[in-house]
């Protein structure tokens, strides 16, 4: 998802609620769209890396179906910041949600911004 095009920015928590190299889960929605249709709730996993950056990807692990990616170990693989699923240990890039152990699998990734110490995720 690219930033800037009709993004809905959802405020999640204060930046300092995130511990370095650990994730949290956020439950966003459900919403009603402008046309009145209902949109399902979304689970987002947010991670604060060692350098202070914050990344957001989908929280649901596509290999197990469990909503647990926020509870994985944060690290890097050849310089790319990553999280390892705590269920079957596949590693995902925090930059774009790409699974680095299976190129056919990707989870959603979301833009993140900090406004007055509050974290916002763009949907």
């Amino acid at each position: 998802m690219t930033a800037g095009v009709d993004l809905r920015w959802e405020t999640v928590c204060r930046y300092d609620r995130l511990q370095p190299e650990r994730g949290v889960a956020a439950l966003l929605g459900p919403w009603r769209s402008d046309s009145g249709a209902s949109l399902d709730a979304v689970q987002v996993a947010l991670f604060r890396t060692h350098d202070g950056a914050v990344h957001a990807i989908g929280n649901i692990d596509p290999f197990s179906g469990a909503a647990v990616l926020s509870r994985g170990i944060v690290g890097d693989r050849r310089g790319v910041p990553t999280v390892a699923s705590p269920v079957y240990k596949q590693v995902f890039s925090l930059l774009d949600g790409q699974c680095l152990d299976d190129q056919d699998v990707t989870v959603a990734s979301y833009p993140v911004r900090v406004v007055d110490e509050w974290l916002q995720v763009g949907l």
């Binding site: 439950l27 689970q43 890396t49 469990a66 170990i73 690290g75 390892a84």
Partner: protein, 835 residues
């Protein structure tokens, strides 16, 4: 292009095709393989592993797609016409040839015993034979008939003992009947045979030597084997493994000469009387003698491949390696070179230690200068070094080469011409050359030289060669650390490092991963956990696997299971009621574990602190089911109640569990204490198991269940409780300091140079002088222990992590749903759920 027909699709025929295709770069030969078995070539040497669960696919030898090789399987050749250069198969297909190689192998020899054709009688040669034996054993084991299920194995050679082992694995009690006065008479001499029999019998396998089976009779739905000494053995299954006979009927019918004892006669080029026809492997009689091992067959295949391309290769019986090494029913046996000292003037040097259960013999030339062969029983660890020295000058006094504590040879004792891998005829010189051009680990050496890919017995020597060449074996943990876990442990201790960040900045690269972070977390916890340092303190929290991070076990739907500690499996009625009330109030699925405690499943992450609070209030604490740590010390009821118990096993189990609770280690640790030799606590399947004796305790180490079950081995016997605990302290700390990541105690002990003996030297005899240090480290752990659940309940900053969503702390995860199964909640979509 010329046509080559290979008759026989076994290991040797397969090797010939490989060898010829490797060398025939210009495509001179088009190869047709005609096989009787419907399966592609498989590793018959490893046949018995089929019973252990290795599949037919895993045993199949690799083949490449090759337009110059055609295989017709399941269609045996029935006629050979040398004049017309044509063969005909059972289905009537005819193939003409320019050259023909017979690689038909052999068939089991079944002695002419009346009743040998009865249902329940089998041979042991092919996968189909094993399928039939497994089916028959399965029927016997599951029948309603009372009494034990038994088998008779006719023949106590190598294959007979393998068959006996397989039958025992299948649930039968096998008796081995051998007509010769000793087991494995081809490979082992009298002294080795006597020890082999003793060791085999100690594995509760019955052996009868020097008697023959005279008849097999049906007895209702079972069999009775009658022996020459009048004994009658009842059996559900009879397996004949009394030797093999070369398959030479096709050659005989075609008029080719055969040896006195069968086998197609061939010369030193493996050529028969007909210049277009060759014979290799077990069906060939090289200068009149047949060979029943795969290595000589492979050597013959190489000679024929060379000859078919106009090469000069030739061989004599003296070139054929008759070495054998195997682990038979837990007993190491090796035989190499002139094991029976048949060379004129040969001298035998024997070291026989019936107490240690080892027998070693070297056969040397009459001037004691050249090694000719040898036999090793009970301990074959020197085989890899000794076998390549056959025919070469002895590098040391022969007694010193086989005596306990004698000369330990290094790879430099071998000349470049010594054959390191006899399966693939790879010399030390060839391996050194491969190492010098970049083959820097065992897999690379295997790939470029094939050494070590046959029986594998030379792999220890490959490691020695790499070490001698100065090549470092990579023990790097992951891309972030070039160190092994043991090396990191030393660094952390030596430099006093207390955080991952410091360690990775000074000794690693990047920011770690799910491999190195938990490994370092474990090291830090082993060194300084406890009251002042909770595993979720500060940066350490970010290193923990999700189980350690949430102090509970993640299940497949994202919920956790909770296991309170129940030391030794002893629990009060009030305790049981409290656990039951927690399970009921939080709607948790409840199951009794194998470690004598209770697992509560289905807790959502935000429920964990409330569950722990209730359990802690009732007097429970964390059971560390989530950690690579001590899990449980299982116990039988012991002398307190049991009529047979000789010691208080529950009391000891409780004391041990409380002593080692919370101890972080390279992998999970399990223990058990049995109150007598009946072993009801299954202590020998544990990392450390204790069995009571009249005089104290026996300590066993290195057992485990799981994927590769292993019995623990006896470390010390009849020690008192004080000594027992000191030894376990040392054992566990030594393991924690030196084992690899996720290496359980059994493979760790195996990896120690010297194995169990070395472990005993270090922790019983204090050969390294570190025992006081190890004990002090354990005392520090014991003194610093604190319950990890209470540590979270008492700390609001830690409690804040136990929320479902950072923006909706109490909202349950909507993806978690349960259905009711046998009266309890289970995750939706449970596989195997009944409709």
């Amino acid at each position: 292009m010329r046509d080559l027909i290979v008759v026989g699709a076994g290991m040797v025929g397969h090797r010939l095709v490989q060898a010829l295709r490797d060398r025939d770069t210009s495509g001179t030969w088009r190869i047709t393989v005609l096989g009787e078995e419907s399966r592609p070539a498989y590793d018959r040497v490893a046949l018995s592993s089929y019973v252990d669960g290795v599949s037919a696919e895993q045993l199949t030898l690799p083949t490449d797609d090759d337009p110059l090789v055609v295989r017709h399987l399941g269609d045996p050749v029935v006629a050979l016409d040398p004049a017309g250069r044509v063969v005909r198969t059972a289905s009537g297909r005819e193939h003409s040839y320019d050259a023909l190689v017979l690689a038909l192998g052999s068939v089991p020899f079944v002695p002419p015993v009346p009743g040998r054709e009865l249902a329940g009688c089998f041979v042991y040669r092919t996968l189909d034979d094993l399928d039939a034996i497994m089916a028959a054993a399965g029927r016997a084991v599951t029948s309603d008939r009372p009494g034990r299920r038994s088998a008779v194995v006719v023949g106590g050679g190598l294959l007979g003992l393998e068959a006996a082992r397989a039958l025992r694995l299948l649930g039968l009690s096998p008796q081995v009947v051998e007509i010769a006065p000793r087991l494995m008479s081809v490979q082992v001499d009298e002294g080795g045979g006597a020890l082999l029999r003793r060791l085999v019998e100690s594995e509760s396998l019955a052996v009868r030597c020097g008697v023959a089976v005279t008849a097999i009779e049906a007895d209702r739905d079972r069999l009775v084997a009658k022996l020459s000494d009048g004994v009658e053995l009842d059996a559900d299954v009879v397996v004949f493994s009394a030797g093999i006979r070369p398959v030479d009927g096709l050659a005989r019918a075609a008029g080719l000469p055969v040896g006195e004892r069968g086998g197609v006669l061939v010369n030193g080029h493996c050529r028969t009387d007909d210049p277009q026809i060759w014979a290799i492997g077990e069906c060939a009689a090289l200068q009149g003698r047949t060979y029943g091992l795969v290595a000589p067959g492979y050597a013959m295949a190489e000679v024929v491949a060379d000859r078919l391309l106009g090469g000069p290769a030739t061989m004599t019986p003296a070139d054929l390696d008759m070495s054998t090494q195997l682990k038979m029913l837990g007993v190491d046996v090796a035989s190499f070179g002139d094991a029976h000292a048949t060379t004129a003037g040969a001298l035998e040097v024997v070291v026989n230690d019936p107490v240690a259960g080892t027998y070693a013999k070297l056969v040397v030339s009459d001037d004691a200068s050249t090694l000719l062969g040898g036999v090793l029983v009970g301990d074959a660890s020197r085989y890899a070094m000794l076998r390549p020295l056959v025919g070469l000058a002895l590098p040391a006094d022969p007694v010193a080469l086989i005596a306990p504590g004698g000369v330990e040879l290094g790879a430099d004792a071998l000349p470049a011409t010594a054959q390191v891998c006899s399966c693939h005829a790879v010399t030390k010189g060839a391996l050194s050359a491969a190492i010098s051009v970049g083959a820097h680990d065992v897999p690379a050496l295997k790939a470029c030289t094939k050494a070590g890919t046959g029986c594998g017995s030379c792999v220890p020597l490959l490691k020695k060669l790499l070490a001698q060449a100065g090549v470092e074996q990579s023990t790097a943990l992951c891309e972030h650390f070039a160190h092994s876990r043991a090396e990191l442990f030393e660094i952390v201790v030596g430099a006093g490092i207390r955080t991952f960040s410091e360690l990775v900045a000074r000794h690693g690269t990047g920011r770690g991963c799910d491999i190195c972070k938990p490994a370092v977390a474990s090291i830090l916890a082993s060194l300084g956990g406890g009251r002042d340092r909770h595993i979720l303190d500060g940066e350490q929290a970010a290193l923990q696997d999700t189980n350690d991070h949430f102090l509970a076990n993640l299940q497949r739907n994202g919920t956790y299971s909770v296991v309170p500690r129940i030391p030794g499996g002893e629990v009060t009625p009030e305790g049981l009621i409290a656990i039951g009330e927690v399970a009921r109030d939080f709607e948790l699925y409840t199951k009794i574990t194998g470690g004598q405690r209770i697992d509560l499943f289905g807790a959502r992450v935000e429920q964990l602190p409330a569950i722990w609070q209730r359990l802690v209030d009732a007097g429970f604490e964390s059971g560390h089911a989530y950690g690579k740590a001590l899990r449980t010390v299982k116990s039988c009821v012991g002398s307190t109640w049991c009529r047979y118990g000789v010691q208080d096993s529950v009391g000891l189990a409780v004391a041990l569990e409380l002593r080692y609770r919370g101890l972080r280690s390279p992998h999970k640790l399990k223990s058990g204490v049995s109150g007598c030799a009946r072993e009801c606590a299954e202590a020998r399947s544990k990392d450390f198991g204790i069995i009571a004796t009249e005089n104290g305790w026996n300590l066993y180490v290195g057992g485990n269940g799981g994927f590769t079950p292993r019995h623990a081995e006896l470390l010390v016997s009849d020690v008192d409780t004080d000594m027992l605990i000191r030894l376990i302290d040392r054992y566990l700390m030594f393991y924690i300091r030196t084992a690899d990541r996720l290496q359980r105690t059994a493979p760790w002990i195996e990896s120690l140079d010297g194995g169990l003996e070395h472990l005993r030297a270090v922790i019983v005899e204090d050969s390294l002088g570190i025992c006081a240090d190890l004990e002090a480290a354990m005392e520090q752990h014991v003194a610093g222990y604190a319950d990890e659940w209470r540590g979270v309940l008492d700390d609001p900053s830690k409690l804040a992590r136990f929320v479902s969503f950072v923006n909706a702390p109490d909202a349950p995860d909507p993806t978690i749903t349960f259905v009711t199964e046998r009266g309890q909640p289970v995750p939706v979509g449970m596989p195997g759920m009944r409709p």
